[in-house]
Amino acid sequence: MTHVIELEGVAKRYGGADAPALGPVDLGVAQGEALAVTGPSGSGKSTLLNLIAGLDRPSEGSVTVAGQRIDRMGEHALARFRRERIGMVFQFFNLLDDLTVADNIQLPAQLTGTARRAAASRAGELMEVLGIQKHARAYPGRLSGGERQRVAVARALVNKPALLLADEPTGALDTASGQDVRELLVDLHRGGQTVVLVTHDLELARACATRTIHLVDGHVAVDTHAEAVR
């Protein structure tokens, strides 16, 4: 089975701390898999996600994503890797308030040098699929939480990434909006998208993930595979 993510002996220490915040961890995530990472606060969930996204570097071990050893990459190469291979969804959306919905979605495509018309076309497709087309010219500040997270998902998918990373995607949403986003992630996974999902919400993990790892004090305490996504 082809692994989209391959972590070998990965550990991360912050500052001069003796004990690592994460690891050492060995982890492989197969293409098309939906992995949920759960655990209490401070267990190392966000650290793991940052290492996979290339936002941070491990203190030890190797991180290979989509066939590329990213722990050895320079900043420029990492940036290029992220915009081409990774889509990220954050708890607090992290949309740029001064750009319209359409512009927010197009931004990663434009960073890769995609032609303006092609980027707009791709953004239009995604907005239609995600049901936010009517907000194309609106600014994020005027949207509901659920709508903002849909915009964030659209932005994450605009470059057709090999891997979608979601950090507490429903953490800042009300129940209805959370349900909305949950269904969206399930649909994406069903469409073949590899997803790594960091969450406190076990319901979300159960609903979206084919596999769940539970971190405790930086180590994988439990690794379970579900038969199918509900």
Partner: protein, 807 residues
């Protein structure tokens, strides 16, 4: 809590100062530069404000410098004049004569008045010994400090003339006489030994009177002296009013320039300091909210934030005062030599008023946002950091997004519109920096043009002298080397007393020799002498030209240079004094011959108090040229040519010599140095203003930058984004600053000219070319980009995960 030094408030202030190191540094450096430039400009304005009066009072200057014929009046009789009514102090008699010294390289100095004094200190005209020591024995002389320079230094050996038996005179000191009583001093015995047949001995007396404020009073004082002594004993006097007039003219020209730079510096300082401190307080609102939440009163919060601004500002101000004083000293030294003043130092009140004013500006600038913070409700203050950001500038992002440019560029270009006030402050900072640079570049070029336009006859490669009636003082002075500025006037010192060693050859023979000499490209003859002009009392210096004198022609403000008989070219002041204009006529009497001349041009010529006239020699039947100015053919050595020509004309009674390269005018060098210094400071402050604003902007946007980086924005794209955010500001600053600097130059230069009593020719006014203006406009962009470079690098380096965690 009673102060900032201890307790919780003190800790808050100290931590605030320490945490925001860049802002603390920018506040300190910006205030330092602003204060230093204000101290420099302020002290120079003070120094150039009536420098002559200050120096004259300090030296107990002579109201009247009188020369007496020793054959007609005894020393005892002269000593008796100190008891005349109205005389409050006197000094002398001092033996006095005139010498025509020759420098170590064979170059001639102008004719100099040398006075025998046993020391520099007297009741009247207490000389300021600038360097070296007083002359103690034969062979030693003290020169006027205006001669001090690479040509003439302590230890330089001069010859008293070019005669075979000339004395060797070693320069042992340089001194300043505000009254301009002499250009050289020696022991009385030395002066007597220097007396030659041509330069007779006279006795100099220096007087101060209780009434000497007006020309009429000076005339009455002079009359009283003459009446008390045998008839014909008083052979000449010099009034302090004339010396003062010449000195004030030189000083007045610099005032508009200094005021322009001073105003630029002060306005810019207010903008930068205000913007820096407002920004510092404005970005700390959340911290302020936390302080209030834990129990700080609004007043304590206000005090804490004003103190956080005042502490680095006070350090910057203190350093600025020191730096300003250090930088002002060499410029003041130059000012001394230009104006002939004595021991200038930074006025004490400049060192008090400038820092006090700067502190006030800082305090007010900090107080306004601090009061806002103090009034802010705690919940709102805490929410500032978390609330959705302002929606200002969204239209700009929409518009910029349509531009066919990379996304980081368009995103950056639109960014300043989110903070219009901050962007406006940056535009103003860049604008003022560009104005200063544009003005300074134009000013430097104008000053160079002024230097080039002065004394065009000195541009000749070789000068040949025939001499004759009009060759000596009163009839003409042969200046073989461009002389250093005379004290107080900024002009070449005019010789006084009988001239020595002048040639006396038949001009026609000299002219024929020049024409026959191989290597002659062109030449023209001149004669100089005093003329009478209807409408002007007293003598007017006249220079008469023969031949094609275009090479020695002055820059024209209006009209044209001499092109034929019956024409005269005059300076601005001449036109004003005579109430004439170009096309009009003046009656000129030269060597007892009176003719009516038509004014064909207004020349840029400030010599001889702006009253020198230039006429065609052939208009005066009896006038003959005494000096020939020769251009040699390309490839011909001027020195060799002069040597060969001299061999021909010397037996005829003439002389020929190659001209030395003219030296830079002291005042022009001083103005250029001041312009460079003040511009550097203003541009630096502008850059710091941009740096601070971009630091604030980048800090505020670090989370957005983190998002962009998480989405795949590379470090290079991040730098591009930040630099693009100031590029528009740089362009705007350049577009406003260059025309404004141009306009300032166009306004200030004529004012400087009017203060110096002259109009200015196009070569001095029209100094900018298009490519230069474009480059100056780009300089505005460069200042903005340089200011943004550091925070752009920081934005590119900041770790994405860290930036994403930033609130």
């Amino acid at each position: 809590m009673t102060g900032f030094g201890s307790g919780a408030l003190g800790r808050v202030v100290r931590s605030g100062v320490g945490r925001r190191r860049v802002q603390t540094l920018v506040i300190a450096v910006a205030t330092m530069m602003a204060v230093a430039s204000a101290v420099v400009a302020g002290s120079l304005i003070v120094a150039t404000n009536a420098p002559f009066d200050h120096a004259f009072a300090r030296q107990h200057g002579a109201h009247i410098t009188a020369e007496f014929d020793p054959a007609k009046v005894s020393a005892a009789q002269l000593a008796g004049t100190r008891r005349l009514d109205g005389v409050t102090a006197s000094a002398g008699p001092f033996p006095s004569t005139t010498v025509n010294p020759v420098g170590p390289d064979g170059g001639h100095l102008p004719a100099l008045t040398v006075v025998g004094r046993s020391g520099s200190g007297e009741d009247v005209d207490a000389l300021d010994l600038k360097s070296g020591r007083w002359a103690r024995k034969q062979g030693e002389v003290v020169l006027s400090a205006s001669f001090s320079g690479p040509f003439l230094e302590l230890g330089t050996k001069l010859r008293s003339s070019d005669a075979e038996d000339a004395r060797t005179l070693t320069v042992v000191g340089f001194a300043l006489s505000a009254s301009g009583t002499a250009e050289m001093w020696a022991t009385p015995a030395q002066v007597r030994s220097l007396v030659s047949g041509d330069g007779g001995l006279s006795n100099q007396m220096l007087y101060r009177f209780d009434s000497a404020a007006t020309k009429a009073q000076i005339a009455a004082d002079r009359k009283a002296i003459a009446a008390a002594l045998p008839a014909g004993a008083l052979v000449g006097t010099q009034s302090w009013l004339d010396t003062k007039h010449a000195a004030d003219q030189g000083a007045a020209a610099t005032i508009p320039f200094l005021v322009a730079f001073g105003v630029l510096g002060i306005v810019m300082s207010v903008i930068i300091v205000g913007s820096v401190i407002s920004g510092a307080v404005g970005t700390s609102l959340r911290r302020i909210g936390i302080l209030k939440a834990i129990g700080f009163t609004p007043r304590e919060v206000v005090r804490a934030y004003v103190a956080q601004a005042l502490i680095p500002a006070a350090a910057g101000i203190a350093l600025g005062v020191v730096l300003g004083n250090v930088l002002a000293v060499p410029l003041l030294n130059d000012t001394e030599s230009v104006y002939g003043t004595v021991s200038l130092s930074v006025a004490w009140w400049v060192d008090v008023v400038v820092p006090a004013g700067a502190l006030l500006v800082v305090a007010v600038a900090a107080l306004v946002p601090a009061l806002r913070a103090g009034r802010l409700r705690t919940v709102e203050a805490i929410a500032v950091g978390r609330a959705p950001r302002t929606t200002r500038g969204q239209w700009a992002h929409r518009a910029a997004g349509r531009l066919p440019l990379p996304r980081p560029v368009t995103y950056g270009l639109a960014s300043p519109f989110a903070h219009p006030v901050r962007a406006a402050a940056m535009v103003l900072a860049v604008t003022f920096g560009t104005v200063a640079a544009t003005f300074a570049v134009g000013l430097t070029q104008s000053l160079n043009a002024v230097a080039h336009a002065q004394d065009p006859e000195n541009r000749a490669d070789v000068t040949a002298v025939s001499g004759g009636d009009g060759a000596g003082p009163g009839g003409g002075v042969v200046e073989r080397r461009r002389a250093p500025a005379a004290p107080g006037s900024g002009q070449a010192p005019a010789a006084s007393g009988p001239n020595q060693g002048q040639a006396s050859a038949d001009p026609a023979a000299v002219r024929a020799a020049i024409a026959a000499q191989s290597g002659t490209a062109s030449y023209y003859g001149t004669t100089t002498g005093d003329a009478k002009v209807s409408g002007i009392s007293g003598a007017v210096r006249a220079v008469l030209y023969q031949g094609d004198s275009r090479a020695g022609g002055y820059e024209m403000i209006a009209g044209h240079w001499l092109s034929g008989r019956g024409q005269v070219v005059v300076p601005t002041r001449f036109l004003e004094r005579t109430g004439t204009r170009i096309g009009g006529s003046v009656r000129v009497t030269f060597q007892k011959e009176t003719v009516s001349l038509r004014i064909v041009g207004e020349a840029f010529d400030t010599s001889d108090d702006g009253l020198r006239l230039h006429a065609d020699l052939d208009s005066f039947a009896k006038a003959k040229p005494q000096v020939f100015h020769i251009e040699v053919k390309s490839g011909v050595s001027a020195a060799t040519y002069a040597r060969k020509l001299n061999a021909v004309v010397e037996p005829l009674g003439g002389a020929a010599f190659a001209e030395s390269a003219p030296q830079g005018e002291n005042m022009i060098v001083l103005l250029e140095a001041m312009a460079a210094l003040l511009t550097f400071m203003l541009v630096s402050v502008a850059g710091l203003g941009v740096l601070n604003s971009v630091v604030l902007d980048t800090r505020e946007r670090v989370h957005d930058l983190g998002v962009c980086k998480a989405l795949g924005m590379s470090p290079r794209q991040t730098v591009t984004l930040v630099l693009a955010s100031v590029a528009g500001i740089g362009v705007a600053g350049g577009l406003i600053g260059v025309p404004a600097g141009y306009a300032l130059h166009d306004y200030v230069l004529p004012v400087m000219g009017r203060a110096a009593g002259t109009g200015l020719p196009p070569s001095v006014l029209d100094v900018y070319d298009t490519s230069q203006l474009v480059l100056l406009g780009l300089a505005g962009v460069l200042v903005a980009l340089l200011g943004a470079m550091t925070p752009a690098g920081w934005a590119a380096k900041v770790r994405t995960a860290t930036a994403l965690r930033t609130e």
